[in-house]
C-alpha cells in the first residue's frame, strides 16, 4: 500500500490532480470525475488524514461563528440561537451610530490604537538597528534576552505593575508625577497604554528586523566602507534599506488592526475615573453583549469593527502596491 501510494505520484499527476478542489462543486464535466476523485483520495488519503483535525477545528470554531454574523441583522431569538430570529436589516447598526457613546468610543479606539500602532512600529526598528551594531555575540545575546523578557509577562501582571508603580506618592514612578493619580487621569492614560506596550513588546518585535539585518551581504558593508562611509552612513545606506521591505509589510498588516485595541489590557486598565478615555469597541461589545445580553447589538458593533479594519487593510495594501510594489496580496 505504502509503495503504491507514493511512487505513483510522479507518474501521472498532470491529468488527475489538476483540479481536485472542484470535488465539492462538481463543475468539471469530464465523465470520469468520480474515478478521478477516488484516485485522488487513494493517493493522498494520508495527507487528508493529517490535516483533517485542523480542518474540522477551523470549520467549527472559525466558520460557524462567521455564519453567526447574520445575527447582526436579525433580532436575537433564544430558541434559534446562532442564526437569529426576524430580519431587521441595519437596525442595530443605526442604533450604534446614533448612540450617545458612539463618538466617544470611536475617538478612544482610534486614538489609543493609532498611538500604539505608530510607536510599536518605530521603536522595534530603532532597537534592531542598535542591537545590530553590537560586535560581541555575548553582549548581543544578553541584550536580546533582556529585551525579549517582558513579552512573556501576562497582561494582568503588567497592569498591576502599572498600578503599583504609578501610585501617587509611593510608586517608583508615581512619586515623581505629583499627587494626582496617573491611572485615573483620562489625559494620561493613552500614554500609559502605548509606553507600556512598547516597553513590553519592543524587543520581541525587533527580532524580525534583526533577522533581516543578519541576511545582509557583508560585501555591501565592505563596498560602502571603501567608498568612505562612516558608521552612520552604513546604517543609513545599508541597514535601513535592508529592512524596508519587512517594515512595509508589517505596516500594512498593522493597518488591518486600526480599530483593534486588544481587549484584555485596556479592560484591566479601566477604572471609574479614566473610563471616558478608555471605553473602546472591544470592551463595549463585551459589556453590551456578555454582561447585558444584548446579543444582536453587540454582534453588529463587532461586525462594524471587522469591516472597518478590513477596509483599512485593503486600502493600505493598494496604496503600498502603487508606491513601493510591496504588498501582502
Amino acid at each position: 500500500m505504502a509503495t503504491q501510494s507514493l511512487s505513483a505520484t510522479p507518474a501521472a499527476p498532470a491529468q488527475d490532480s489538476r483540479r481536485p478542489s472542484s470535488v465539492a462543486s462538481g463543475t468539471t464535466k469530464k465523465p470520469n470525475i468520480f474515478k478521478r476523485i477516488a484516485q485522488h483520495f487513494r493517493r493522498y488519503w494520508e495527507l487528508w488524514l493529517l490535516s483533517a483535525p485542523a480542518l474540522i477545528f477551523v470549520a467549527i470554531f472559525a466558520y460557524v461563528p462567521m455564519w453567526g454574523i447574520q445575527l447582526a441583522f436579525r433580532k436575537f431569538d433564544p430558541d434559534k440561537g446562532l442564526t437569529g430570529g426576524d430580519w431587521v436589516g441595519f437596525y442595530y447598526f443605526k442604533q450604534f451610530f446614533h448612540s450617545p457613546l458612539f463618538g466617544e468610543i470611536m475617538t478612544n479606539t482610534i486614538r489609543i490604537s493609532l498611538w500604539t500602532l505608530v510607536m510599536s512600529f518605530i521603536f522595534p526598528i530603532i532597537l534592531a538597528l542598535l542591537i545590530n551594531q553590537i560586535h560581541s555575540t555575548k553582549v548581543k545575546g544578553f541584550v536580546q534576552t533582556v529585551t525579549y523578557m517582558p513579552h512573556f509577562i501576562s497582561v494582568v501582571v503588567i497592569v498591576s505593575m502599572l498600578n503599583i508603580f504609578l501610585t501617587p506618592g509611593s510608586g517608583i514612578i508615581g512619586r515623581f508625577l505629583g499627587p494626582e493619580s496617573v491611572m485615573g487621569n483620562p489625559k494620561a492614560i493613552t500614554s500609559v497604554y502605548w509606553i507600556s506596550e512598547v516597553w513590553q513588546h519592543c524587543g520581541w518585535n525587533s527580532i524580525i528586523y534583526l533577522a533581516a539585518l543578519a541576511g545582509v551581504d557583508t560585501s555591501l558593508y565592505e563596498a560602502a566602507k571603501i567608498d568612505g562611509a562612516g558608521r552612520w552612513q552604513l546604517i543609513r545606506t545599508v541597514d535601513i534599506p535592508a529592512i524596508m521591505p519587512t517594515a512595509g509589510i508589517l505596516l500594512i498588516l498593522s493597518m488591518g488592526s486600526v480599530l483593534n485595541v486588544g481587549f484584555d489590557k485596556i479592560f484591566l486598565m479601566q477604572n471609574s475615573l479614566n473610563l471616558p478615555a478608555t471605553e473602546v469597541i472591544s470592551t463595549y461589545t463585551y459589556k453590551i453583549g456578555i454582561l447585558n445580553s444584548q446579543f444582536s447589538y453587540s454582534t453588529a458593533i463587532g461586525l462594524f469593527n471587522t469591516v472597518v479594519n478590513f477596509v483599512f487593510l485593503i486600502t493600505a495594501n493598494a496604496i503600498s502596491k502603487k508606491i513601493s510594489e510591496t504588498s501582502i496580496f
Partner: protein
C-alpha cells in the same frame, strides 16, 4: 568623515566582518561618537527593561514600609518573607496555578497534535487542494465571527464553564500552521522525501520517522508560542467560566491584584495597602517565574521561528 577606513589588504580580507575588533584602530572620531551614542542608547534600553523587573524582585523581599517610603532602590531592605508566606498560604492561588498548568499542558499538546500534521500536509507541493485550504485558513485571520457568535456556539456545544473551552476553540492557530509549513518547505530537503519514496515509505511513515525527528526547532518554537498563550490567557476565563474552582491563574490574579485594590483613605488603610502591595509583588514573581525560566533556553530558536512567519506565502 572623508577619512577612509580601507582595510590594509583589500584582496584577502574580503570576507571580513564589518566593525570587528581588529579594526578598532581604524575608527574615525565620528565613528567613536557613533559608538558612544549607540552603546549609550542600548544601555538605557536594557536598564529601562530590567529595572522594573528587578524592583519587583527586591520589593517582594523587602519591608513594605521601606518600599512605600522609597528606601528600596537597588537591593532589598529589611528582608522579610511574610509576603511569600501569605502567597503560599493562599489556596485560591494554588487552585488557579493547578488549573493553568492543566490547561496549558493539555492545550499545548492538542495544539501541536493538530497544527504540526496539518502544516506538514500543506507543505507537500503535489497535494493540490492545499491552496484552497490555505486560502480558507488565511481568511479566518482577517474575518472572525466575533465575541457573541463565539459565545453562542460554545453555549450550544456545552463548552461554557468547562475546561475544554480553553483547549478546543484555540486548537489551531492559522499563523502557527503557516510558520510550521514554511519550516517544512524550506528546512527539510526534498531529497529525503525522494529517498523515503524509494524505500517504500508512505506519507505517514515519512512524516513520523523522518520529518518529526528533524523538526525539534519548530516544535520548540510553536510549542512555546502556544504554551505562553495558554499560560497568560485571561479573557477566556473571564468570559466563559463562571465557576471559581475552574478559573485559571490569570483570573485569580486579576481578582487578587486588581479588583481587590482598595483606595487608601486613612493611615490604617494605607498600612494595609502597603502590606497588600508586598503580597502583590510575591504573586507577580510566583506567577511569572515559570515562563522566565523556560524561555532563555528556547531563545536560540526564536529568530528562526519569527523569520519563517515572515516568509508567509
Amino acid at each position: 568623515m572623508s577619512t577612509t577606513t580601507v582595510t590594509p589588504a583589500p584582496k584577502t580580507s574580503g570576507d571580513e566582518i564589518p566593525w570587528n575588533k581588529h579594526q578598532r584602530q581604524h575608527l574615525t572620531p565620528g565613528d567613536w561618537v557613533a559608538s558612544i551614542i549607540i552603546y549609550g542608547l542600548i544601555t538605557l534600553a536594557v536598564i529601562a527593561v530590567l529595572y522594573p523587573l528587578w524592583f519587583v524582585v527586591i520589593a517582594s523581599f523587602s519591608n513594605p514600609n521601606k518600599v512605600a517610603a522609597g528606601d528600596v532602590f537597588l537591593l532589598p531592605k529589611g528582608v522579610t518573607f511574610v509576603g511569600y508566606a501569605k502567597v503560599f498560604a493562599n489556596a485560591r492561588i494554588w487552585r488557579g496555578y493547578l488549573n493553568t498548568i492543566i490547561y496549558s499542558v493539555v492545550g499545548t499538546a492538542v495544539n501541536l497534535a493538530v497544527t504540526i500534521p496539518c502544516a506538514f500536509a500543506l507543505s507537500r507541493k503535489e497535494f493540490k487542494p492545499r491552496r484552497v485550504i490555505l486560502f480558507l485558513f488565511t481568511v479566518t485571520m482577517f474575518i472572525a465571527g466575533g465575541l457573541i457568535p463565539n459565545y453562542l456556539l460554545y453555549k450550544q456545544l456545552g463548552l461554557l464553564n468547562s475546561m475544554w473551552v480553553f483547549i478546543l476553540p484555540g486548537a489551531v492557530s492559522v499563523y502557527n500552521v503557516i510558520v510550521a509549513r514554511s519550516f517544512f518547505e524550506t528546512s527539510i530537503p526534498e531529497e529525503l522525501f525522494e529517498a523515503a519514496q524509494l524505500d517504500g515509505e508512505s506519507y505517514l511513515g515519512y512524516f513520523f520517522r523522518i520529518v518529526i525527528p528533524l523538526s525539534s526547532a519548530i516544535l520548540a518554537v510553536i510549542g512555546l508560542y502556544y504554551f505562553v498563550g495558554h499560560w497568560n490567557d485571561f479573557m477566556t476565563g473571564l468570559i466563559f467560566i463562571t465557576d471559581d474552582e475552574k478559573q485559571p491563574l490569570q483570573v485569580v490574579l486579576q481578582q487578587l491584584l486588581l479588583v481587590a485594590q482598595g483606595t487608601a483613605t486613612n493611615v490604617d488603610a494605607a498600612a494595609q495597602q502597603q502590606a497588600a502591595d508586598q503580597i502583590k509583588f510575591g504573586i507577580i514573581i510566583v506567577s511569572t517565574l515559570p515562563l522566565m525560566v523556560i524561555y532563555p533556553f528556547l531563545q536560540k530558536y526564536f529568530n528562526k521561528g519569527v523569520m519563517l512567519g515572515a516568509v508567509k506565502g
